[in-house]
């Protein structure tokens, strides 16, 4: 970490900045938050480390929202360009994951709006209305994340993805989705009801087919 970033970390943590060179850095910040602070200082190595660390999660987030692989690639690149442009809006001490996800979510919503508009314009020529709604990729495996989350509406899907797959806290998910913790809890509850019904019916079907064979 360069000296300026380290000094800033200490200043914001209320530590004596004159002692930064002699005392090992004891700070309350996570590795990601520190990398983000270094990224803001212009450290390319920190930026690369963040890209390597965060991108798989963001990629999974896009794929779970039924983006095709090429779409997910584009969305990821667009998200990082946006992150780079607004990296000064992150403040040290704030949770970093909701900041990333809020931007990724914005890029995804923007992408869907654009896709819907393009599809609406092209519809008369296509004679088909399939373009308006992105469909889950045909994976052929009923237990893929996309297939499991398929019956859920978009708002519930993203909450389940962040909370149960990425392991974010309720507070973090609420921040990322610009909503309250109560609203996140409600979405999770409803999503689990739907998932329970779906999985029970799948298990029932599986049992019946095994009995027949």
């Amino acid at each position: 970490m360069d000296l300026t970033a380290e000094k800033r970390l200490h200043e914001q943590a209320g530590v004596d900045k004159n002692r930064t060179t002699t005392i090992p850095l004891m700070h309350p910040y996570s590795k990601l938050e520190m990398l983000m602070a270094q990224y803001q200082e212009g450290d390319f190595a920190a930026a690369t480390a963040l890209i390597d660390h965060i991108s798989p999660q963001l990629y999974r987030f896009f794929v779970a929202q039924f983006a095709s692989r090429p779409d997910a690639d584009d969305l990821l690149q667009e998200t990082w360009l946006r992150i780079h442009r607004v990296r000064h809006t992150y403040r040290l001490g704030e949770p970093v994951l909701p900041w990333f996800y809020a931007i990724a979510r914005h890029v995804r919503v923007d992408h869907y709006r654009k896709t819907a508009r393009t599809a609406a314009r092209e519809q008369p020529l296509e004679e088909m209305s399939q373009l308006a709604v992105p469909v889950p990729a045909e994976t052929g495996r009923g237990d893929d994340l996309e297939a499991l989350l398929a019956p859920l509406p978009e708002s519930q899907r993203e909450v389940i993805e962040m909370l149960k797959v990425e392991g974010m806290s309720l507070e973090e998910v609420a921040r990322a989705t610009s909503s309250s913790v109560g609203s996140v809890k409600q979405k999770v509850h409803r999503a689990y009801q739907k998932l329970r019904e779906r999985m029970s019916s799948l298990a029932l079907k599986k049992g019946q087919s095994e009995e027949k064979s």
């Binding site: 300026t4 803001q40 200082e41 212009g42 390319f44 930026a47 690369t48 890209i51 991108s55 798989p56 990629y59 999974r60 794929v63 779970a64 692989r69 690639d73 990821l76 690149q77 990082w80 360009l81 780079h84 442009r85 607004v86 000064h88 809006t89 992150y90 403040r91 040290l92 704030e94 949770p95 970093v96 909701p98 900041w99 809020a102 931007i103 979510r105 914005h106 923007d110 709006r113 654009k114 495996r141 237990d143 893929d144 994340l145 499991l148 389940i160 149960k164 797959v165 507070e171 609420a174 921040r175 990322a176 610009s178 909503s179 309250s180 689990y192 329970r196 999985m199 029970s200 298990a203």
Partner: protein
């Protein structure tokens, strides 16, 4: 099926998620490398919210200084205390929420619509408690003058607020527009309370509160236009 079992199934499914290509990560890193430089993070929320409240106070006072403090002079102590403390609290809440709207991943205590609703209802309740003269005179003519004056003062308040938060990034520009409009509208209402000597209950309840609604609607429209503009600019580039 229990929740724990669903958790397990989701975790197993996530492990099988498609791998990201290292070439893509390299492309992402290469795309930002030329623009790497040090950036100054935004100040703390309370600093920015404080600046927004100062704008609210400055616009209301400057407008009233130009037009006259007739309303303030006519009020008794209770009216002054209740009205201006309510406006002050609402301006602080709206200022904080506007800052949160402009910083991705911030904690939201209230939605944009909720803030507008809360502000409107609270003002109506305070006005209804304090003013009981339900006789009306020149309801429309006097009301339109107050509405225009309030909205005209909300515009500079909105522009100055945007100036303070111009380095922010709204993930939902319509929602940010409504909150900014509500804050600016509160500055307009503040000016009217300082200036307007018309204490007819219906005049204050309808026209003074309407400044808030009109200003929030204008904010929403600006936010919507901003969203479309952002999309068009990206298409051109």
């Amino acid at each position: 099926m229990r929740d724990g079992e669903i958790d397990e199934i989701l975790k197993k499914a996530a492990v099988r998620a498609p791998e990201i290509e290292p070439a893509l990560l390299r492309r992402v890193a290469d795309s930002i490398q030329p623009a790497m430089r040090r950036v100054r993070p935004l100040p703390r929320t309370w600093v920015l919210a404080g600046a927004l409240v100062l704008i609210f106070v400055a616009v209301a006072l400057a407008g009233a200084a130009r037009a006259g403090f007739y309303g303030f002079e006519k009020m008794d102590l209770l009216e002054r205390a209740l009205i201006f403390s309510t406006l002050g609290v609402l301006a602080w809440v709206a200022g904080t929420e506007f800052v949160n709207e402009m910083i991705p991943g911030s904690r939201r205590r209230i939605s944009a619509g909720g803030l507008l609703g809360l502000s409107g209802v609270l003002l109506v309740v305070v006005f209804a408690l304090l003013f009981h003269d339900y006789h009306t005179e020149h309801f429309l003519a006097a009301g339109l003058v107050c509405l225009a004056t309030g909205v005209l003062h909300a515009i500079p308040a909105g522009l100055l607020s945007w100036l303070v938060l111009r380095r922010g990034f709204a993930v939902n520009s319509v929602s940010a527009g409504v909150v900014a409009g509500t804050l600016a509208g509160l500055a307009g209402v503040g000016l009217l309370e300082l200036h307007c000597p018309n204490f007819q209950a219906m005049h204050i309840l309808v026209w003074h509160t309407a400044v808030l609604v009109v200003s929030a609607a204008v904010g929403a429209l600006v936010g919507r236009a901003q969203r479309s503009r952002g999309r068009d600019l990206r298409r051109v580039s």
